[in-house]
Assembly symmetry: C2
């Protein structure tokens, strides 16, 4: 095998607010490096797609102490981590011969990457309206987070009213559909930013209602959309939306805490909860979770989601664009 050079994005600087695109403090820097020879049971992958998820914002800088974070922290100067989908172009693994399509949750923002075969999976067959990229989103970690958070952590039941924030995003769009179409929840309400996203959440995903958090009337709209209050809140955003939602929960309501996008770029502000006493008065339960805890169930869950998509029960949106918009934009490229 000839020596391979690749371009890759490195973590150059830890942002304290929004990621910085240019200049000496730019969050990422583009470099070209020569990859080492393959060790046994490794694959060289030509990357076709990389993921850009809200969770990645926490990987590059977070107020959580490194030893308390759910993954080893990304070092300064290291290639940015991501999920990827790519084609094996060289291999010392019998499991993944050249030309195999693979996915991995331990990819990098690189054109070529060397991974241990143990952290790769064969890319599932993509047909019946399913695109390979869906395995980086709706059928990847974000979709799985939606599934476990809704079905297990919050234990949504058919009689329940479910609200999800970030409803047009990678995770939220699946929560809406898992709650409404797979679990048969009585009422599902999305929260999203802007009329276009709200129309998509209602019209395409099938939410009973979707409330625009950018509207001046948001608090009133949210109350109007939840007249009988809420059994389950799937929280992707934290911040003011969480605060308002605490006052919309039913007695013994459950909050699945998946993320707090509203504060990733504003640590010092924190999440200010004027309605915190609602937790006491209404006996609420808030439970944080990380999708990695259920990866042993992932194959069966992905199979269930694929089947639901092929039967037309759920829609697998091209949600990456929306995720980029809500989390951070950077000069990454598509190498497809």
């Amino acid at each position: 095998m000839t020596s391979i050079t690749t371009r890759q994005w490195l973590l150059n600087s830890r942002p304290t607010g929004a990621p910085i695109l240019d200049g000496p403090d730019a969050t990422f820097s583009l470099t070209t490096t020569t990859l080492p020879p393959l060790q046994p049971n490794q694959v060289l992958i030509r990357v076709k797609y990389i993921s850009n998820d809200p969770a990645q914002r926490q990987w590059i800088s977070t107020t959580v102490a490194p030893e308390r974070f759910y993954l080893p922290p990304l070092s300064l100067g290291a290639p940015m981590k991501c999920s990827l989908l790519g084609e094996v172009v060289a291999s010392t693994s019998t499991a993944f011969p050249p030309s195999t399509l693979v996915t991995s949750a331990l990819g990098e923002w690189s054109e070529h990457v060397i991974l241990d075969a143990a952290v790769c999976n064969p890319a599932p067959a993509a047909d019946g309206g399913i695109a390979p990229t869906h395995f980086l989103g709706a059928l990847g970690l974000t979709g799985l987070a939606a599934y476990y958070g809704t079905a297990i952590v919050a234990a949504a039941k058919p009689a329940d009213t479910v609200v999800v924030s970030g409803a047009a995003g990678a995770t939220g769009s699946m929560v809406v559909q898992i709650a409404k179409k797979l679990l048969g929840c009585a009422r599902v309400v999305g929260i999203a930013g802007g009329a276009a996203k709200c129309a998509w959440v209602k019209g395409t995903l099938g939410a009973d209602e979707c409330v625009d958090y950018k509207a001046a009337s948001f608090a009133d709209d949210l109350a109007a959309a939840t007249p009988d209050f809420v059994d389950v809140y799937f929280d992707n955003v934290g911040g003011e939306v969480l605060d308002l939602m605490l006052a919309r929960m039913k007695m013994r309501g459950r909050v699945a805490v998946c993320g707090s996008m509203a504060t990733y770029n504003a640590y010092e502000d924190g999440t200010r909860l004027r309605n915190w006493f609602e937790v006491v008065a209404m006996r609420l339960q808030l439970t944080g979770f990380v999708v990695l805890d259920w990866l042993h169930k992932a194959p069966e869950t992905i199979a269930e989601l694929v089947r639901a998509a092929q039967e037309g029960k759920i829609v697998l949106g091209d949600e990456n664009e929306m995720v980029l918009e809500t989390a951070f934009e950077s000069k990454i490229w598509e190498n497809g």
Copy 2:
């Protein structure tokens, strides 16, 4: 029965910050009123002791909507509610003849009060170092809240490290002892305000450590007192202490949310949680609770606590003074 007049404190104005002692906006006003004749199955009580608990601050004004509060809201102009201990001086109930000592969780800040016999209980025998007033505190609602929050909501186990805020208060002082002496928790750490309270929590109540939240070094002291992190946090105060504690919890730690005293007089500030993402990263579970949900177990629990006190396992402090200091001061009187 001759007509009885009584002095009583009425709710005159709902405070938005600290209760107001004087002037036209005073939170409470003293009045004299004539009580009506007894209806069947009622008692006229000469009040000996009334309670003044942190929870009462929420009864007189709270940001929680009235229909979402755990008790009917106290109306303006109504007598202030409390727990009481008093002596029956007239009765139309065979259960409570005159000269019976009774307690009730539905008392009033009045010298005399008429209550339905159904909401009264015979005052338990007070001996072996137990004073009647303990049934308004350590052996009343605050002590029961400590018990159910620690043993049931947080489900503290012998191997656990338990931290409690407001550790010198009515509830917290019992949490310390229930965790350490009754449940046998491995390590119990209190948080209290000032060296004197901390010394009492350690020396008298038996906490392994007590951290002074008023010290400039509080955050460092709290970390030093919890070197192996925390399984259970019993939260009486919310606010900054809760924020710091989120970063001291172990993986899958449990927070029993009993109150948020830090914000009762400062609604607009709310509880600002910079460490909210710890809930996700460490898979924390926060559960709000109200002691009223377990009143059916109260007789057996009080009997257990009385036994523990008589055996010298736990100390029943005169915690009312501390509660007054932390919650609010008003011109109430002792009529004993």
